[in-house]
């Protein structure tokens, strides 16, 4: 921290709150570890010792599942694939090559990570339910392969010559300690992810993948990283599980129930939270094992019924898991004060602007920032955009107008890579961006907002905006600083703690604008930013956009109402039926009979000519 002295006050405050948040997770971790170690020291019964080992084992698998599925929302029904590959890696290395499990556990993690890469790469083409169900196929396909290979039941050999060197202990409590170490490592990794741009990016993907892409998040890469980390953890713990069980069968490590176990721990405890799976395992594993020991052999089946019923009851009461329910209850108790502090109803977005003084339209010979030539896109038979050519000069505000269905939004989707064009050329700062992905285009300096706002509803205003800032800097603290600056530029600096889900239309539009600004774009694409706003709000929004342009950004704005645009744009491009109908200064364009006809029909254009 060499530049500590230069840090602005807001940053210092944030740094402090970060350190506080570090204490807030370090304490529970220490507390948990101490209590757990005390239990381990006290319990003498072998059966309960095994139980104490299984809690961290399944908690770790749950953490691994949560890193992929809880954070990114891509539900995996196939985590047994990583777990099983890990178990078999360690076993095969030990049995056939005499390699100690101390090494084997890490090899298992490596194989798990590799499997994550190999599985993730093709499977991330799929979304939603298709992804979830396809993940089912991997462990089940592997299960039969391992049976076919003749590995139905492989036992780990006893190494009485050097037990410790081969992870074999007469004292069961040492296994518990190893499991606990692995779990804590996984938990720390998960907590770290949660608090970094890694976790934020996954959350953004979960809530709105297109918006995340357009904000410069390389969604594919982050998903791939998540599944690799997840596979690594699952592989390691799978390997260790083999050591605990001493016998590996395809059913126990690749079976459907193993995949389900991962889900159950995380969902029961609290999905999308690092501690969730730990809570889930700490409650459910003892419950299962005790039921099994006390009732299982007397009345077979009763233990499953009780466990299932317990899960059902809990989930009806706490649909997002125990942890979130408890948190909500605690919050409710403190809510009285907090609610009044945040969002005290004061109008936000009140920007003080020196009207139009700061900004002047750029000269006609200003250099070209964006050049579009012959751009076309069809959906089946529908030519949404055909042969569109225009250019954007540095520093101008260009209005793209046209009636509904003229192809305006499609044009934006083509320009920022949300959909890929069929033919044409798009040159930005002299470099072709034709066919690049949305995040690549964003990182080259094109930000955008959406006609139908796409906030991340469960994140705060600041978190929403910081996701747009990641693209501009590799340092998370800088990203937060930029996000705050962007919020200030749109006049929302006082709302940073609000949840995006509860904002008004105007606030959401400003939020999206701030998110786009946070990446320091050279070119801003604004899609009907004025739509749905009252006349006062339109004035405010116009002021904000002018300010942004005055500070050096080039703006292309879509609108289908001419009214406000005439006062904002330096130049117009008029689209109709996917083609450019007219281009020029506002006063020329509004008098162009073709434009009037497109907007008002033939009768009015004749009227206007007369």
């Amino acid at each position: 921290m060499t530049h500590q002295s230069e840090t602005p006050p807001a940053e210092v405050a944030r740094g402090a709150s970060r350190r506080k948040s570090m204490r807030s997770w370090l304490l529970p971790l220490l507390g948990f570890t101490v209590v757990y170690l005390a239990l381990v020291a006290l319990v003498r019964n072998q059966y309960y010792q095994l139980m104490l080992t299984l809690v961290p084992v399944w908690a770790t698998l749950g953490i691994s599942w949560n890193i992929l599925s809880g954070y990114s929302g891509l539900v995996s029904f196939g985590h047994a694939a990583f777990f099983g590959l890990g178990a078999y890696t360690l076993t095969i290395l030990f049995v056939f090559f005499g390699i100690t499990p101390w090494v084997g556990v890490f090899a298992a993690g490596g194989v798990g990570a590799l499997a994550g890469l190999v599985i993730g790469y093709p499977t991330f083409r799929l979304r939603g339910h298709y992804f979830a169900l396809s993940m089912l196929a991997y462990p089940l396909a592997l299960l039969y392969v391992f049976e076919w290979l003749g590995l139905q039941e492989v036992s780990l050999p006893m190494r009485r010559d050097a037990p410790v060197a081969f992870m074999q202990f007469s004292d069961n409590r040492i296994y518990t300690l190893i499991a606990l170490c692995i779990m804590i490592a996984a938990l720390l990794a998960s907590l770290r992810i949660e608090r970094s741009r890694f976790g934020m990016s996954l959350l953004a993907i979960k809530q709105n993948e297109i918006a995340a892409e357009a904000a410069g998040i390389n969604t594919f890469t982050w998903k791939l990283r998540a599944i690799v980390v997840s596979g690594l953890i699952a592989g390691m713990i799978g390997g260790f599980y083999a050591v605990v069980l001493l016998v590996v069968t395809p059913q126990t490590v690749f079976g459907m129930l193993t995949s389900a176990q991962a889900l159950i721990m995380a969902l029961f405890g609290g999905v999308g939270s690092a501690w969730g799976p730990v809570v889930g395992a700490a409650v459910l594993i003892p419950l299962t094992e005790i039921l099994h020991a006390e009732l299982g052999d007397k009345i077979p089946g009763i233990q499953g019924v009780v466990l299932g019923a317990a899960i059902i009851m809990t989930i009806l009461y706490a649909p997002e898991g125990i942890l979130w329910r408890v948190r909500d209850l605690l919050r409710k108790r403190q809510a009285g004060v907090a609610d009044r502090q945040i969002g005290d109803g004061k109008a936000s977005g009140t920007v003080t602007v020196e009207p139009d003084a700061a900004r002047r339209a750029p000269p006609a010979d200003a250099p070209t920032l964006l050049d579009v030539q012959g751009l076309a896109k069809s959906f089946g038979g529908l030519k949404a955009v055909q042969d569109v050519s225009f250019s954007v000069r540095e520093g101008e505000i260009l209005g793209i107008i046209g009636p509904n269905g003229a192809g305006k939004t499609t044009l934006f989707n083509l320009l920022n890579g949300v959909i890929s064009p069929d033919t044409g050329r798009i040159t930005f700062q002299g470099e072709s961006i034709f066919g690049l992905s949305a995040n690549a285009i964003c990182s080259r300096g094109i930000g955008r907002t959406f006609q139908v706002v796409r906030p991340f509803p469960r994140l705060t205003v600041l978190e929403n905006v910081v996701i747009g800032a990641f693209v501009a800097t590799d340092n998370d603290d800088d990203a937060y600083a930029q996000a705050r600056k962007a919020l200030a530029r749109v006049g929302m600096e006082r709302d940073e703690g609000l949840l995006a889900g509860g904002l008004t239309t105007k606030q959401l539009r400003l939020l999206e604008l701030a998110r786009a600004l946070a990446g320091n774009p050279k070119l801003l694409l604004l899609d009907e930013t004025l739509a749905g706003l009252g006349s006062d709000a339109v004035e405010e929004m116009l002021a904000v956009i002018r300010n942004v342009a005055a500070e050096g950004a080039t703006v292309v704005i879509i609108e289908h109402t001419m009214h406000a645009m005439v006062r904002l744009a330096d130049r117009f491009v008029v689209l109709d039926h996917g083609t450019v109908l007219a281009e020029g200064a506002p006063e020329e364009v509004t008098r162009n009979p073709n434009v009037i006809e497109a907007y008002l029909g033939k009768k009015w254009s004749a009227h206007a000519r007369a």
């Binding site: 539900v75 799929l126 009345i299 299932g308």
Partner: protein, 320 residues
């Protein structure tokens, strides 16, 4: 018989076995397809609901005396069909008290629109049903036995003088009944008002709401009918396949594979998805060791989904 003819016979036999199996899988998949299509809920308990249906048919046949009153052959089929209305009612009860509390409008505000809660709820249901089954029915495998399951029809000779296909009578009848039920459902869905609204809701749940379809009712009906159809399929399987309370797990995976292959939201697609799974499973034995027949199923499944992510009969509705 020449090697060639032996090969021909093997292929024909595998093909017929595949169709017999696929027809039943198809019916199961249709049941799940209705639920999944309309509600977009992943129901892990579907296989266990089928297991309950199988025991239901078993007890109707044996304890309730359908087997003795109607004779084992007719009795077995009537038992399977009667399972439908019983499991329909069971499905409605489950929906009313459990499923409806984590689906529909009331969970829209939850993380991931309530999908997480649905997953774990149905996992809990699967645990309760399969272990409850163990508690009630015991672990000894049972089946609805009749002379049909140990006799066969000979079709042919089809090629030359010796090449013919043998069709197990129980399986053959199960296929015919399954086709009849699927056809009946097809008519119901395409002709009746209720059926059409279900189809619309499966095709596009959101649009269906805007068109004034009562979502809660559609969900309830879908869950009931889906449960019933899968249970009938289970009752038919029970006529030739010994089963125990954990049988659901074997089939739930087949069902999901079939529904995804067919394309989410396409009820007819689900039938063909199931048929493909049956065919791949049987035809794979011609070229692969028996242990790998299920691996073949999953590999084919993955290939189809990668090449055609919306499934064979699904429509791609992703929009920017």
């Amino acid at each position: 018989m020449s090697d060639f003819l032996i090969n021909v016979e093997n292929v024909l036999q595998a093909l017929s076995a595949g169709i017999l199996l696929g027809g039943i899988y198809g019916l199961m998949c249709v049941g799940l397809g209705i639920i999944f299509g309309v509600m977009r809920v992943i129901n892990f308990a579907q296989g266990d609901l089928m297991m309950i249906g199988m025991y239901c048919a078993f007890y109707l046949f044996s304890a309730a005396g359908l087997g003795t009153v109607l004779g084992p052959e007719v009795g077995a089929i009537v038992a399977a069909l009667l399972t439908g209305p019983i499991m329909y009612a069971f499905g409605l009860v489950l929906h009313r008290f459990l499923i409806s509390r984590v689906t529909g409008v009331r969970v829209a505000s939850l993380e991931g629109e309530g999908h997480y809660a649905q997953l774990i709820l149905t996992l809990g249901m699967a645990l309760v049903l399969s272990n409850g089954g163990l508690l009630l029915f015991g672990s000894t495998p049972v089946s609805v036995r009749s002379s049909l399951s140990s006799s066969a029809w000979e079709l042919g000779p089809l090629v030359g003088d010796y090449v013919s296909i043998f069709v197990n009578k129980a399986r053959g009848i199960a296929l015919l009944v399954s086709l009849a039920v699927a056809a009946g459902l097809y008519v119901f869905i395409n002709r009746s008002r209720l059926g059409k609204s279900l189809k619309a809701a499966a095709d596009n749940p959101e649009a269906a709401i805007y068109m004034g379809i009562d979502v809660d009712k559609a969900h309830r009906m879908a869950f009931g009918i889906g449960t019933a159809i899968t249970a009938i399929a289970g009752g038919l399987v029970a006529t030739y396949y010994p089963f125990q309370p954990y049988v659901g797990l074997e089939f739930v995976i087949v069902m999901y594979a079939g529904v995804v292959l067919g394309g989410l939201g396409s009820i007819i697609g689900a039938f063909w998805g199931g048929m493909i799974i049956g065919l791949v499973q049987q035809l794979a034995t011609l070229v692969l060791p028996t242990q790998l027949q299920n691996t073949a199923v999953f590999v084919v499944f993955l290939l189809v989904v990668f090449l055609r992510p919306q499934g064979l009969f699904g429509v791609n509705v992703t929009r920017a």
